[in-house]
C-alpha cells in the first residue's frame, strides 16, 4: 500500500474543501484533497443556474463557474488532489492520523497526516425519509439526482412530473424541467408557507403557471412499473383531510425534501453529532471532539448559500493552520441555542477572540431581534428585518466584548430570537 505524508488531508473537493485547502496551503503547509468524483467542484457542478457568488465575488455566476474559479486557484497551488478517491477509514496514533483512501486509479492509499478536515458535504433525504406510501415503481427521484441527470449527463428523468418540497432545489428543478420540455404539474409543500426564496417562487413557478399546493402531502404513489399518478391530500391544522384527496397524473416524482450532513465516517470514528444539525459538535475553531479533526461546509450544517460555505471554510483553514503552528487556543465555554433558535454553530466560544456564529431560527417573523447573553448579561442585540427557518442567520461577537466571565458561573453563551 502506498503511503503519503501531508500536514493536512481535506476530505471532499467541493466549495468547502477547496476553500479550506487553499487557506492551509497559503500558510505554507502541505495539503492533500481527496475527491470522490472525477472532478472537483462538488454539488456546484450540477447547479447550472445563476445566483452564485454575489457575496464572495460580487458578480452573478453559475455554480460551475463559481467552482471553476476555485479549481483554477487549487491547480496553481501546491495542493495535491486525489481524484476518484473515497476515504474509507481514519485511525489515530498519538498526534498522527492515518486515513485510508480507495481509488480505482491507484488502489488503496494510506495518508499519514497531522490534521483532517471533513468537507464532504451532505446527502438528500429520500422517499424513505418521508415515508410515502404506495407502490415502488421507477420514476421517483430525489431532486438533486434529477438535476445531475439533466444538467450533467443529459438525461430527462420524466415528461410529466410533480415536485415534492418547495425549497430552492425543488423550485429550481421546476424551472429546469420546464425548460427542457417537461410539464411540471404541481409543487407540493407540507408547510403552510413556501420554504424557498420568494424570487424563486416568482421566476420558477409563477412564470410558468405551475401550481404550488401549500399544506398538502403526497398520500400515495400509484403505478406498477412506472409512476402513473399520485394522490395528494390537503392538511388542515396538520391533519390529513382524506375526503378531499385528489389525484394528479404524472410519470415522475421529484423529491426535494431536505438535506442531511454526510456524517457516516465522522460517526464511525467516534465523533459526537449535534442532533439538531446532524453534523459534528465543534468548538470555536471548528475542531471536532477529536484533536486535529475539523469540519466545515455542508457536513457541519447545511448552508443556503455557497458564499457562506466559502467564508466558513476559509476560516476553518486558518484554524487548521493555527493548530499546525501549535498555537494554544484560548479558554472556551459552551454556546447554546436559546428561545426560537433551532441550532447554533459552533458549539463553543472564546471570550478573548472574535466569534462568528451561524444559526437557524424556528419561526417566521418580521422585525425580530437577536439577543446574546452570557451569565444573564446581554452582550449583543441585533435587529433582523425578516427571519424564517429556511434563511440562515449569521453574526459575530468581536473579541473582548464578553466581559462578565466568572469563575463561579458556567459562562455559557445563549442566543435568543424574540
Amino acid at each position: 500500500m502506498k503511503e503519503f505524508k501531508f500536514d493536512t488531508l481535506v476530505i471532499g473537493g467541493g466549495s468547502a474543501g477547496m476553500a479550506a485547502a487553499l487557506e492551509v496551503s497559503r500558510r505554507g503547509f502541505t495539503v492533500a484533497v481527496a475527491e470522490r468524483e472525477n472532478s472537483m467542484g462538488g454539488i456546484l457542478n450540477q447547479c447550472i443556474h445563476n445566483g452564485f457568488g454575489l457575496h464572495h465575488f460580487k458578480e452573478e455566476l453559475s455554480g460551475p463557474a463559481y467552482a471553476e474559479k476555485f479549481i483554477d486557484m487549487v491547480e496553481t497551488s501546491n495542493i495535491e488532489v486525489f481524484i476518484d478517491m473515497t476515504v474509507m477509514d481514519i485511525e489515530e496514533t498519538g498526534d498522527l492520523k492515518y486515513a485510508y483512501g480507495l481509488s480505482k486509479l491507484t488502489g488503496m492509499i494510506k495518508f499519514c497526516v497531522k490534521t483532517v478536515v471533513f468537507a464532504n458535504g451532505c446527502r438528500e433525504r429520500n422517499r424513505g425519509s418521508i415515508g410515502t406510501p404506495g407502490t415502488r415503481p421507477s420514476g421517483v427521484f430525489t431532486a438533486g439526482l434529477a438535476q445531475r441527470l439533466v444538467n450533467m449527463e443529459g438525461y430527462i428523468p420524466g415528461k410529466e412530473c410533480v415536485i415534492v418540497g418547495s425549497g430552492d432545489i425543488g423550485l429550481i428543478m421546476a424551472r429546469r424541467m420546464t425548460w427542457v420540455g417537461a410539464k411540471v404539474k404541481a409543487v407540493i409543500e407540507i408547510q403552510s408557507y413556501p420554504a424557498g426564496l420568494t424570487r424563486n417562487i416568482v421566476q420558477c413557478l409563477n412564470d410558468f403557471d405551475i401550481p404550488l399546493y401549500l399544506s398538502h402531502v403526497v398520500g400515495e404513489i400509484h403505478g406498477k412499473d412506472r409512476v402513473e399518478s399520485i394522490d395528494v391530500i390537503p392538511l388542515k391544522k396538520g391533519i390529513e383531510q382524506k375526503d378531499k384527496t385528489f389525484n394528479i397524473k404524472c410519470d415522475s416524482l421529484l423529491l426535494a425534501v431536505g438535506l442531511v450532513p454526510d456524517n457516516e465516517l465522522i460517526q464511525k470514528i467516534g465523533i459526537s453529532i449535534n442532533p439538531e444539525t446532524n453534523g459534528p459538535i465543534v468548538d470555536r475553531q471548528l475542531m471536532t471532539a477529536k484533536n486535529g479533526i475539523f469540519a466545515c461546509g455542508n457536513v457541519l450544517h447545511v448552508h443556503d448559500l455557497v458564499d457562506f460555505v466559502t467564508e466558513e471554510s476559509e476560516r476553518c483553514g486558518r484554524y487548521v493552520s493555527n493548530y499546525l503552528d501549535k498555537k494554544i487556543p484560548a479558554e472556551q465555554f459552551r454556546s447554546i441555542p436559546g428561545q426560537n433558535v433551532k441550532y447554533l454553530v459552533p458549539n463553543y466560544y472564546s471570550p478573548i477572540n472574535e466569534n462568528k456564529f451561524y444559526l437557524r431560527t424556528m419561526v417566521v417573523k418580521n422585525r425580530a431581534e437577536l439577543i446574546v447573553k452570557v451569565n444573564d448579561k446581554e452582550i449583543l442585540r441585533k435587529k433582523l428585518k425578516h427571519i424564517q427557518p429556511s434563511e440562515m442567520i449569521s453574526f459575530s461577537i468581536p473579541g473582548g466584548t464578553v466581559d462578565c466571565i466568572s469563575e463561579c458561573r458556567d459562562n455559557t453563551l445563549e442566543v435568543h430570537i424574540v
Partner: protein, 119 residues
C-alpha cells in the same frame, strides 16, 4: 393601473408596487435599491429573465456544457433561444466565458459557456 410584485433582481426579494396611468410613466414604490425601479418597469413593459441551460458536447467525460446569458432577455425570446440551444452540438475544447451565441436577436446579450471543458 396597479400591480404588486416581488423584485427578483437579488435574493432580498423586495415587495414592490408599480402604478401607472400610461406605460410611459410607471412609478415604482417599495424598492430598497435602484434595481427595483428598473425591474418594476420592465416587468410591466417587457418582462426579462436570465436564461441558463446546457448544450450537447462531445467531451470524453461530461455530457452537457452549462451555458448562461450575460444578462436578461425578453421572456418571449426564451423558447426560441432554448430550441436553438438544444439543436447545437459543440466540440471541445471550450473555455469558460467563451461566447456560444453572440448578440441574441439584437439584444446585445451573449450566451456564454460557464465551465471549461478541455477534453
Amino acid at each position: 393601473m396597479k400591480k404588486d410584485m416581488v423584485c427578483i433582481s437579488c435574493p432580498m426579494g423586495c415587495r414592490i408596487t408599480a402604478e401607472w396611468e400610461n406605460e410611459n410613466d410607471i412609478t415604482v414604490t417599495g424598492n430598497k435599491c435602484p434595481r427595483g425601479i428598473v425591474y418594476g418597469r420592465e416587468e410591466i413593459l417587457s418582462p426579462k429573465r436570465v436564461v441558463t441551460a446546457t448544450i450537447n458536447i462531445n467531451s470524453s467525460w461530461l455530457g452537457r456544457l452549462p451555458v448562461m446569458t450575460t444578462g436578461t432577455i425578453p421572456k418571449g425570446m426564451i423558447d426560441s433561444l432554448l430550441n436553438k440551444i438544444y439543436k447545437m452540438h459543440l466540440d471541445v475544447p471550450i473555455v469558460r466565458d467563451d461566447i456560444i451565441i453572440k448578440d441574441i436577436e439584437n439584444t446585445g446579450i451573449d450566451l456564454i459557456a460557464t465551465r471549461s471543458v478541455k477534453t
